[in-house]
Subunit: 95 residues, 2 copies
DNA sequence: TCGGCATTTCGCTTATTGCCGAAATTACGT
DNA sequence: ACGTAATTTCGGCAATAAGCGAAATGCCGA
């Protein structure tokens, strides 16, 4: 619960989670979105450095909100809906 | 959402919220718990300084999780169950 | 009114987080 | 093998958060 809340305690990370709900509308020029969105696209949307975005994505992944798939030189990130729902349920139950 | 998550991003504050679910078992020698638990009792349970505990309680109140009632020289804090439920619902819906 | 108790505010120090650019890593194409 | 591109890791700096003790505030009783 603590790690998850920490991961959500940042405007940029909340925005990323929101955008990944519907990649097609938030990331122009996206192709097959089944695997998620690559770091570069997210970085351009966020507007800060690649290293910072990478850290944010790693934080969200450690918290269980994102899944990553490496394909070639790209890493695709997508929401882990199951774990997101599980977290929401835990908030409802435990908080 | 951001402010609420920040408020929950601390072990001590999470513990306080948890304890206040059932004051009678977590705070020895509590009387009428309708108004909540006074800062002194919470401070003894937490084990850190009065000023720190006061800051934590203020944070939780600003986030909407606690309500405060001043009675004489004591401030009683209790969970705001309605707003806590509302937050949980928002997490479930928006996240 | 004065002294004492509960709580909050203030000023400060330390720890954590956020951010960057540079360097390292990994993969692709030639 | 080499050069380029995507991403991550590293080292450092600035901003925010967490903690403390001392001082201030508010309230009660003598």
């Amino acid at each position: 619960m603590l790690e998850e809340c920490k991961a959500l305690s940042n405007e940029t990370r909340l925005a990323i989670l929101e955008w990944l709900k519907d990649p097609a509308t938030h990331f122009p020029g996206i192709g097959d979105e089944a695997d998620g969105v690559c770091v570069g696209l997210i970085q351009r949307r966020v507007g800060c450095s690649a290293s910072t975005v990478s850290a944010h994505l790693a934080t969200l992944q450690r918290a269980g909100f994102l899944q990553a798939t490496r394909r070639g030189q790209w890493t695709y990130y997508r929401r882990d809906e199951e774990r997101i729902r599980a977290f929401a349920a835990r908030v409802h139950h435990d908080l």
